[in-house]
Amino acid sequence: MISIRWRHGTLGLAVGLGVLAATASALRAAGTVDEVGIATPPWEARVLRTGGLRVETAALLWSGQQGGPIALAARAVVFPGGDPKAPDKVKIALVVEAAGGALARAADDAGVDSALPVDIAIYALDARGALATSLLETVEIPNPKETLRNKGLRFVGGFALRPGSYRLRILVGHAATKTFGLRTIQLDIPTGGAAYPLVAAFSAGSDPGTGWLTVSSIDAAAPALPSFWPLAARPLIAVSGDTPLSLFAVGLPAGTTQRIELRAVGASAGTELSVREVARAPDSGFERIDLAFSTLDLPPGSYELRTALTGAPFGSTADLTLDLVAAGDPARTWVEREEATAGAEPAATGGAENPDAPGRWRRSEAAALRAVYRRALVLLASGDEEGARAAVTAFEVPLLSGPNAANREELAGLLGEVLRSLERRNPESLVPLMALYRILHGEYQTRKLRHPSMHAAILVGSLAELYARAVPTAEGRRLAAGFLISLTPNLFRSGLSSMVEAEFRRAKELDPDHPQALLGRALDDERHGRYAEAESALERLAAQSPNDGQVAVRLAINTARLGQTKRARELFGKLVAPLRARSTGSPKIEPEAWPVALACQELARLEIAAKEWQAAAGAIDLGLLAFPDDEKLLLLSAALADLDGSSVGNDTAAKARLAQWAPQATSESSPRLRYGELPSAEIEALWQLLRREATERLPALGAALGTPSGNQGKVEGTP
């Protein structure tokens, strides 16, 4: 079992981080950057585009639960002047800092000596909680143990956003060991005409870049960067009688004064500093105010720095977490300081800019909820599936739908305890629970309950993996894979295609010969242009089901895409062969024969591409005999008449037929649309089978709960 240490507890189920392989075509080496962000070969690290997120990663980002063993700090700066590509937006620059020691240890744990992929995912959620934009990239760090020794990883990127209030959720993770850190910061972008947020920056001398492995985002814009960029997310300054600080503002009227307060992290009150203004000057589109103050009276430690402008027609403040160290302290960055003082214990990175600060449950509430949950499962075991659904929904949804992210973590921990306990007593008891959460997933999605539906999907996945480990037989793995696959239609309908792909991939890992997993993976491969991989999966499927038309037409199409024209013709030929035996005027082929219609279309297209006009016309005519109203065949027939030298029949008739054709009122998906859809009929059949399997295991659930099972009912619900 994979366990992950959360900062606030242990989530026992297999909730972790993983990232898909980076898209090869999108790879671009970014090189390392020096203190001012300029790439300098040879590269110590490179930035790749992350292919996509796994379910768990997305769930973690959505959850907003902060923490994890990789300590993080982050800052965002709003640039004035808007984005030339999107005038209604402004550019946001981001700097994310991650503790290198934790990453190096993670690499050590995983035995990674070569290149360590570190995934960086940033979600910008608007005031309604909707995803406004995102940034998903992977930093590949060669020789990580050496490279990250006594260093932190500093990632510099950005995006554009419309004015508004946002929460930036920043996840830095290591796929190999499934460790991560998650941090949330608040970002407020004023509407046009209002003041831009202040930026407070310590001079480069107080935060040398040498303590960082700095990398830039692939998509980082390269505007004229202000002199303070890249700035430290969490500066480290030495106690001094003359600490320089610069403020950067926009639209600043004359006569403003500054009020600067330092407050020790965790303290209730702070100290207002005596500040001396040194200079004011324009700088990179901002107005810069250079200040100096003394920190001689302050003890070393972590502080919140708040800067406020007074005398301005707007209230403008800048908040910043910083570390104050004694003069002569060898630490160059907050990472080094934490490594030196806190060892492996993750650093606190919250503070003033912590909008998602978790609330806590009282222990007594958790115990009560555990009892409620157990009672719901007893209902399920007794055959009252509807009652169980209602009970689980009643206590889960309020917890999962609320703004308090801690609830989701606590709930996952609580369920984890119950489910592990059941698994220890009888792993078969997990099967009805998988079915229950599969149904709940669909119900929550129908009700547009985002967090609950995500939670239910994750639970099905986690239970499936738990079950497959507990019952490591071929049957056990196939059953677990089946439940993962059963999630995909709902996920697909919700547009969560990356999650669909992830579920098919996990299912195929559990059961490499599972027909729906193979088909799902083949579809995924096709969508991403991996035609050879798709063909390989389809070959295996075709060997399992030689009479499956859908598999056959997919195989033929992918074979054609790979340039194996002769073999593709043979495969298409087998599909359309039954049509040759039919005579004109025969009854139409049933809609289930869509692969045959598709075979006629694709064979015609293949022949047109090869300028084999006669053969193309033959395929079209053959198809039209069986599918006289097939729009695509009529189009191909008319278009064939346009092609130079293609006069192979009655061109005028083809045009006339198209001229007379009128759109058909039908609820059937067209063959070409069906080709891109999940094999929903097959997955529905699989789901029905899984429901029966779940019903058969209700006694096992009852036994694991220590109650007699009624086993009267069955697991029902919306597919």
């Binding site: 189009l635 278009a639 009128a662």
Partner: protein, 398 residues
């Protein structure tokens, strides 16, 4: 002065064709009437859509006028001004226009006839008047015939035979994307934009609406009557994939039989996925059937956020890019353009802008100086004194 206005003018020569033809006794009303053609002019050759109009005398009430073109019925009008629009085609030939007036009792009371000439040319075989629909940018003032220069690829600088500006009747195919991504308010707004477009058209303009998803979903007849669209669109639902190239081919085929200025206006937020016809084939078709394509392109949120997928189950990224580029080229070569919008609410304004552009186009008629057997006749238009002319890049031999 527009072609239609010019054709409709009542000058001395046209008055000269006032004739009163005796109708056989059986059909003659008690008081003889007179009718006369005010359009077209007997002096000018007729091409494409032509307004045919008669004036009636003052002798009594006429309740209906029937029109004939070259001896064949061409329509009727039941109230003044008695006029119909007739498409006479692009052939450089003489035409005979006849009109018969009827009284309220149904008796024929008068008739008139004129002939329009063909244009005299040295070589009459294989020569046809070519028309270029030119959109001018960078010049705010109205331009004259002399301001334009037509250049043919391979040499040739033909003279401008006919010159008009604006208000030339057109036939449009409005292609509206009704795929799943246009579900709900987006399709409703797109349809409303189409209704507004048709409502704003002039009486001689006509449009057909084609709703498409992964197949053609709905098709109306060519009409200038908004109520016909209302009827067709009631209950239209979005759903399915996007077969944009196939839909374009449909539009081309539907417009092929129409004469005069032909326009395809595409309103879509997507790119092609399910088509069987590649854009290369569509472009080939357009070379032979010149018609301008306008694409009101609704950018999706994902695209604005840089998250738009550029591949599909039917094409990899490269193939998809090829198709997108093919569509852009087809539009450019057609003399049309792409109008990008970020919200469906902007669709009506974008369509209105296109309509405005169509109304301000210049129409240059010329006879090609290139050999008639040349496979491709490339053409460009320059403007003396600066400015940019957008025009279809040429035509292929049919």
């Amino acid at each position: 002065m527009s072609l239609r206005t010019r054709l409709a003018r009542l000058d001395g020569r046209a008055l000269a064709v006032w004739i009163g033809i005796s109708i056989p006794a059986a059909g003659l009303a008690a008081h003889a009437q007179k009718i006369a053609f005010t359009s077209p002019s007997a002096e000018e050759a007729a091409f494409g859509p032509v307004e045919v109009r008669v004036e009636t005398g003052t002798g009594g009430a006429i309740s209906r006028v029937e029109f004939f073109l070259d001896g064949k019925p061409a329509g009727s009008a039941e109230k003044p001004p008695f006029s119909v629009v007739v498409d006479v085609g692009q052939e450089n030939v003489e035409h005979r226009f006849e009109a018969v007036a009827y009284s309220a009792g149904g008796a024929a009371v008068a008739s008139a006839m004129i002939r329009t000439p063909s244009i005299a040319t040295d070589l009459t075989i294989g020569v046809s008047l070519r028309q270029l629909y030119v959109t001018v940018s960078g010049r705010s003032e109205g331009l004259a015939r002399e301001d334009f220069v037509i250049r043919e690829r391979g040499g040739g600088r033909p003279g401008i035979v006919t010159f008009e500006r604006g208000d030339i009747p057109f036939t449009a195919a409005l292609l509206i994307d009704a795929s799943t991504s246009m579900h709900g308010a987006r399709l409703a707004a797109a349809n409303e934009g189409a209704r507004t477009f048709v409502r704003t058209m002039r009486p001689l303009d006509e449009a057909k609406l084609l709703l498409f998803a992964d197949r053609l979903v709905l098709e109306t007849p060519f009409t200038s009557v908004p109520a016909i669209l209302d009827l067709a669109l009631s209950g239209a639902r979005a759903g399915g994939g996007t077969a944009l190239s196939d839909a374009l081919y449909f539009a081309i085929e539907r417009l092929t039989s129409r004469q005069g200025r032909r326009v395809i206006i595409l309103l879509s937020d997507g790119e092609d996925i399910e088509s069987v016809l590649p854009m290369s084939l569509i472009r080939k078709r357009l070379e032979r059937e010149p018609m301008a394509i306008y694409w009101v392109r609704l950018r999706r949120d994902e695209e604005r956020q840089g998250l738009l997928k550029r591949w599909s189950i039917w094409r990899d990224a490269q193939g998809n890019e090829r198709e997108v580029e093919g569509l852009r080229l087809a539009i450019e070569e057609s003399g049309g353009r792409i109008e990008e919008i970020d919200s469906i609410d902007q669709a009506a304004a974008a369509l209105a802008e296109i309509l405005d552009e169509l109304r301000n186009q210049y129409v240059l008629g010329y006879y090609s100086e290139r050999p008639s057997n040349e496979a491709w006749r490339g053409v460009s238009v320059a403007i003396r004194g600066g400015g940019r002319a957008r025009v279809q890049k040429g035509t292929a031999r049919r």
